[in-house]
């Protein structure tokens, strides 16, 4: 089940960040706002090995 593999959310976050970087000139305010959320997601998922 690739959709629920532990790596999938991490790759999703990485792709999301890359899209934000590429969209930065076109999306000035939302990109920065979303970037704060992405920072949180990356930090939160990175400690998934520990409840």
């Amino acid at each position: 089940m690739i959709g629920t593999h532990p790596i999938t959310p991490a790759i999703g976050g990485l792709v999301g960040s890359a899209v934000l970087v590429l969209a930065l000139p076109a999306l000035p305010l939302p990109a920065a706002t979303l970037a704060w959320v992405v920072l949180g997601v990356a930090a939160g998922y990175s400690i998934s090995g520990s409840p």
Binding site: A10, V21, S46, S50
Partner: protein, 171 residues
């Protein structure tokens, strides 16, 4: 899940409020300090050798908390899991997040980062419960923990670059 987000939001609010106080210091020294600290933390993450000697509780939320009461037990477990305080940290990205919010964030970014942290924490039980065999999912995660840490570190670095560039007024 509600407890998890409440916990993450609480952490985000506290760290964001701290960021509001640090905001009294001029911006450029804060940016320079943040870039230097993130460079070190992320370099270790990407090298697959995360810094484990940073401050952390090194205790898990006890599973019996869930059984203490029908609603309050799972709520407390989720809350504590969401705060990210009482746990082992296989990566230093939560530390990097706190530094980023404190040094160049503030209350609003703290809340946004808290929502994201809660979402990131929630992804684990969601993905695990949707897998055909949760025990197998644990095995997969254990085997790929370093890779997950590296991928998250790259995503974190890209997003951090955006908030830093925004703060510098270049975009």
């Amino acid at each position: 899940m509600a407890g998890l987000f409440a916990g993450a939001l609480t952490s985000g609010l506290i760290v964001g409020a701290l960021g509001g106080l640090v905001g009294l210091v001029p911006l450029w020294p804060r940016i320079l300090l943040l870039v230097a600290l993130l460079a070190v933390l992320l370099a270790f993450e990407l090298a697959g050798r995360p810094l484990h000697n940073l401050p952390q509780a090194r205790r898990l939320v006890p599973q019996d908390v869930i059984r203490r009461a029908d609603v309050e037990g799972p709520l407390q477990f989720g809350f504590e899991m969401g705060t990210g305080v009482r746990t082992f940290m296989p990566t230093a990205l939560p530390h990097a997040l706190v530094l980023t919010v404190v040094l160049i964030g503030g209350l609003g970014p703290g809340i946004l980062a808290g929502v994201g942290f809660g979402l990131g924490r929630a992804l684990m039980p969601i993905a695990r419960s949707r897998h055909r065999d949760p025990a197998d999912w644990d095995h997969l995660l254990e085997r790929r923990l370093r890779l997950v840490g590296r991928l998250c570190a790259v995503g974190f670095a890209l997003a951090a670059a955006i908030v830093v560039v925004k703060q510098m007024g270049f975009a």
